[in-house]
Symmetry: C2
Subunit: 332 residues, 2 copies
Amino acid sequence: MRAAFVVGTTETARIDGISAAGAAPDVMNHTPAADAELVTYGRPVFAPEVPVSPTGCPTPSLVTRAAFDRLDVETMVVDAGLSVPTAAPAVTVGAEVGGDVREAVPVPDAESAFERGRSLGAALGEDALLIGESIPGGTTTAMGVLTALGEPNDVSSSLPENPLERKREIVSTGLEASDVEPGALAGQPLAAVEGMGDPVLATVAGLIAGATSNGTAVTLAGGSQMVAAAALARHAGVDAPLRLATTSFVAADETFDVRAGADALDLSLAVTDPGFDRGDHVAFERYRQGEAKEGVGMGGALWLAERAGVSMADVRDGVREYYDRLVGDDGP
Amino acid sequence: MRAAFVVGTTETARIDGISAAGAAPDVMNHTPAADAELVTYGRPVFAPEVPVSPTGCPTPSLVTRAAFDRLDVETMVVDAGLSVPTAAPAVTVGAEVGGDVREAVPVPDAESAFERGRSLGAALGEDALLIGESIPGGTTTAMGVLTALGEPNDVSSSLPENPLERKREIVSTGLEASDVEPGALAGQPLAAVEGMGDPVLATVAGLIAGATSNGTAVTLAGGSQMVAAAALARHAGVDAPLRLATTSFVAADETFDVRAGADALDLSLAVTDPGFDRGDHVAFERYRQGEAKEGVGMGGALWLAERAGVSMADVRDGVREYYDRLVGDDGP
């Protein structure tokens, strides 16, 4: 089993109020690179610190890493538009930082990112591949892509209060700038991600297409963004079975019906509950409040752990250890 | 223990008759990327094939990987100027493909490559780091750097007949183009590698400086090129203990005195013999004829294996298996 983490950034993430992945926009730029280091090394290397939201919610990459420490999974990072250097070895797909989705063409290199992702997914020739992501503002671009493709387009949020109306306004502005009606790009996934998406979505869609073409069993580890990536793959003609593995926090989100999204795209759905309501460590508190919810493959890593007979209590111990060692009492 | 493989390419490698690392220049361009994939995955992924010299000598990365399969070593790849995409996850130092050493400034980004290497070496914070390389034409740029620094400047060769005179001519032309007298750049390692080296040497020197600054024990796995990298580090003020781990093929090279090189730079020397004279598999024949000799960390991997009690017979079995599976009977 190999797990690929596709990481990148966009100008969309700089739009006020849409993401909790890090604090201020300048800090948020570091989040995907830091997540790449955390899943690779279990600690920040070039990154100045572990990403923690303004309210103190630690990045889900700590959960993913804690689960992987207890499993036999080879990890790899795919750079799909990082804006700062990372010390995590990464396969690059040559994508630039994504633009603002309110522009006409926020992802001019969508096609090459998709193709490089496809080559990689096919060439790896794994039996099974789990795909995670880290890209701030990613649910907004996910909504953009889903809307352009004409799929159910509600999305989840890394914030406890999902700013859905704000996202809809942004997507609406983006559609206008791209001169696209909702649903007009059905069957045209590259145009949809080029005009309304981000480079991570383009790359994940390519990975799915390439891996499934070679018989690899693909598990998409995440929530709305992985639904959007699956939609792109389906619209690109991928009809292989796909699994969506997400967290109980996403499944509990009243603003986003992950089951409906999975059904619409014929994804088998696995929901795993890490049991953060047991134990009152600070690392779990913000998750209980509905923050973060998912990301950096968290839902997939938990699913793998559960399937391998690793107890959630054991994973929680690992998360506590990482938090205490790397974040400590410096939170707000 | 972590092993970092610094890989790159130069225009110098296109000069006729100086390297056996691959066949024609266009094929040679693929060698470092293929080596990166072989040490990472144990097989070519994007690379069209396993690098094999025109006479049928397989890349030493097969030996390195066979040894690592029997050890507990984390590998990583550092991209210091690859000219083709690789499927191996890599930390990039942002270096362009190196120019021709006969030009005035073949490595304009030497300083930034050194600095990024230094940051990485320091940030990794490993107890022990083994460094290998893959860059065709690397012994010629090694000679260039050693000459500019005023160190003993004979070098080994991946060819059975070392074209030393050809290399001296090339270096002489390069010194003239760079307007440098032999020894004139003593104490100026960045100027030496910028004017007479390659991006891999700049990066390895930076890694050495950074890693040793943080107390990491550094083993340079290779021959002449690692002597040149050590020379750059010494001239940059690194006085920490350094080990050079190379193969018996390099130690037996009558045209290059690796012991003198190690002594001049205060490197402790470990020489390991993989016993390729036992067993008559085709994979070993060209090594016995003096081809390849070293590369992609081979000497260091063999040294680690020997130190860990892994028998050379076991490593040879692994090399045979890789060769039979990946190269087969397609050799000349």
